[in-house]
Each structure stands twice: as C-alpha cells, then as structure tokens.
C-alpha cells in the first residue's frame, strides 16, 4: 500500500477529512540542555522554544492535517554547536506513541550511526567529503545525524497527541547550551480549500 493510500485509509477509518494540500511534512522539536539522563521525550514540551527549535505549538496536528512518518532523524549538539553522535556510543531504543498506542516499540537506533554503524536499511550516498583533516567543531563536521528509514508507514492522524521517547542508561546528552533535536519526516496533508498542486 502506498503512503498516499495508507494515509487516506486511516483518515477515512477515523472519519478525518481527506481533502487538503498533499505535501512533504517535517516536524521537529528541540530539547535544550538535556543533561545526563536515561529518558528523552520529544514533542511534549514547547515552552520557551522559538520557530527555529520547533515547528509545532502542541503535540498534535491541526484538525485538517495528518501525516505519514517515513523517516526519524536525531541530532545531538554540544554547547559549542558541534554535532556529535546521538547518545555517543551508547545503545539506545526509540519508541513512538500516537494517542494511547505504541506504534514503534523499543527500536534500537545505535546501529544506524557513527563508528558503530551497522547499516540495516541504508542506501549509502555520501553528501561529500572535505579532504581537510581536522578536529570536529562547529564548522568541521565529522559525524552525521542519525537517520532511520521506516519500512512501515506510521500515520499521525489529526488532533491526536504523539511523542517520541528515547530510552538509555544514563547517557550524557550535554548540558548548558547543548541540545538534542528530533525530526519526523514524511508525506502529509495540510489544510487547503480548493485544488491541490
């Protein structure tokens, strides 16, 4: 079933509107100064965040909007803006909860990044390499963000709360001006009256 069909199928089951502008939707949320913790929960706190740190104001989509999650993206920044491997080298699991239902359960994410990378589903394509040897810093990026392509389309229906949980064992995600970011990327619909482009 294509993602377009799946979104239409779930929306119709829920009685949600199926019209609207088809588009690509990327939701993101930042946790400032996450510190050392065993649990990160994204998309639950929006207080004090600017439009550069999240593009939602609540943990749900508007009444006429819905989306299919295709890709989960995670990044960890130091207080100096350097990108680090998410959770360093620690094993972590990720869950997505939509409404009262766990739709992704304890998915190990460490396989998909950094020096420990064991690619299960990636089709590799490098963005490019700079040949300069240097120590990682804000302008010299030596790692890439974590990105997981889902094999099953996960639907976020309109007006249903959702969150992303990352479980670990006391991992240092950074303090001070450090931050971690989660983005959910996929196909979606946004409110539109009239024809769709």
């Amino acid at each position: 079933m294509s993602q377009i069909s799946k979104l239409g199928y779930v929306d119709s089951k829920l009685g949600a509107p199926s019209s609207g502008q088809q588009t690509t939707r990327i939701l993101f949320n930042t946790i400032e100064a996450p510190g050392t913790t065993s649990s990160l929960v994204f998309f639950t706190s929006f207080q004090g965040l600017t439009n550069g740190q999240t593009n939602l104001t609540a943990n749900r989509l508007d009444s006429m909007e819905s989306m299919v999650i295709k890709t989960i993206w995670l990044a960890q920044y130091t207080a100096l803006g350097e990108l680090r491997n998410f959770g360093e080298d620690s094993q972590q699991t990720l869950s997505i909860i939509v409404g009262n239902q766990q739709v992704v359960k304890d998915l190990p994410i460490q396989f998909n990044q950094g020096a420990s990378g064991q690619a299960f589903d990636r089709l590799h394509e490098n963005g490019g390499f700079s040949e300069s040897v240097g120590i990682s810093e804000q302008f010299i990026q030596t790692v890439m963000p974590m990105e997981i392509r889902l094999l099953t389309d996960i639907v976020i229906p309109p007006q249903v709360a959702f969150e992303v949980r990352v479980q670990s064992n006391n991992v240092a995600y950074g303090s001070g001006a450090a931050a971690v970011v989660c983005a959910l990327s996929g196909y979606g619909k946004i409110f539109s009256a009239g024809n769709t482009f």
């Binding site: 690509t24 965040l49 299919v68 990044a75 990108l83 963005g127 700079s130 890439m144 024809n195």
Partner: protein, 203 residues
C-alpha cells in the same frame, strides 16, 4: 515517489484545465535563486538578478505550457563578492537550520519545513563515520546535503503562476535568529521533472 511524476503533472493539469500541457516536452530541470536582498524571500526578485551567477530565471513564474514538478528542494550558501557557491553547513555551522515555506500562487504548499545544516532528513543519504585506523581524529569532514526530498507526491508549479519561498535561518540549539550577510547569502534550488514548451509544428 508513489505517484509517477508524469501522473501527478497530468492530474493537476486536468484539475486546472490545462488541456495542452500533455503535448509538451517532458524534461528534467532545476531553477535557482539567491536572496541577495537578505529579505528572507527567494525567487520573488529573480527578475532583477544576474543570470546565471545568481539565478536562471527571468521572472518567478513559468511561461505558457511550461511547468516544474518539484521533487527536491535544496539550499546552499553563496558568497556575494566572489560568486562562490558554498555548503550551508560550512558557512553557518552544524547547528543552523533554515525553516521555510513554499508558496505557489496564493497558496502555501510547504509549511514551516526545516532544513538542518547538520544534514537534513534527506532519505537514503545517511552515512556512517569515516575513520582511519590508528588515528583518533576522523580523516575528513562531512559536507552534508541540505535538501527536502518530497515524499509521496511532488508539487507542481503550473504555467504562469508566481511562486516563491519564505525562509528564516535559526540556531537550532538556542533558537536565535541568524541574519545572513553579504558573505553568506542563502540560495535555493527547485529540482524536478520539467515540462517545456513544444509547438509540435514549424514556426
């Protein structure tokens, strides 16, 4: 893409009553522009920009029976005095993010979409860390791509309809707004399946 590009173009063309679009030349194309005014708007001012240094458009709409089905939107940095194209991450640092809207006609078709300098969710383009055995430091730095791959269905810019992108640059850690400078202007490509005017007759 679940729908083929051609199917999507025909679907929208039928909805808009563009009966002759199907007879035109299918192709691949990209349009680009740089926000030289630092106004946070791309493509609107393309008519005033040097070609091809800044843009490959003469106006921010396509002529009769020409269209573009956008399949990828990507951003880059641009040095105003040397006309050099730079990687967004190298110019702004890993913690920058562009948040943009795409507007076609009077309609917003992409909404608050982020492009992370660290490398966006760009679908099939992730990669591991490259290490040289015996050395602590990585041998080289990544130059990430900064693009939005349009999932499921591309977005069609129909003939003779104006389009533009509204964007802002932020620091994703602190939330602070970053104002581009003449040395670090922001540019954008819209890449996809193109429809070119073809008269199908001699003129």
């Amino acid at each position: 893409m679940a729908l083929s590009a051609q199917d999507k173009i025909m679907y929208v063309a039928n909805k808009l009553g563009l009966s002759t679009l199907k007879d035109m030349q299918g192709s691949t194309g990209a349009v680009y522009d740089v926000d030289t005014d630092i106004s946070g708007v791309l493509f609107s001012n393309a008519s005033r920009h040097q070609n091809p240094n800044i843009t490959n458009l003469t106006q921010n709409e396509f002529e009769v029976n020409e269209a573009l089905l956008i399949e990828t939107i990507s951003f880059y940095a641009y040095q105003g005095n040397t006309f050099d194209v730079l990687n967004f991450q190298a110019a702004y640092g890993s913690d920058a993010v562009i948040v943009y809207d795409l507007i076609i006609g009077n309609k917003r078709v992409m909404k608050d979409t982020p492009v992370f300098a660290a490398g966006s969710p760009y679908t099939f383009a992730n990669t591991g860390q490259k290490l040289v055995p015996g050395f602590t430091d990585p041998a080289s730095a990544f130059v990430p791509r900064h693009q939005t791959y349009l999932e499921g269905a591309g977005i069609l810019i129909p003939p003779q309809v104006q389009f533009y992108i509204d964007f802002r640059v932020f620091n994703v850690r602190t939330g602070a707004v970053i104002t581009p400078t003449d040395q670090n202007l922001i540019g954008c490509y819209l890449f996809g399946t193109r429809v070119l005017l073809n008269f199908n007759t001699s003129i």
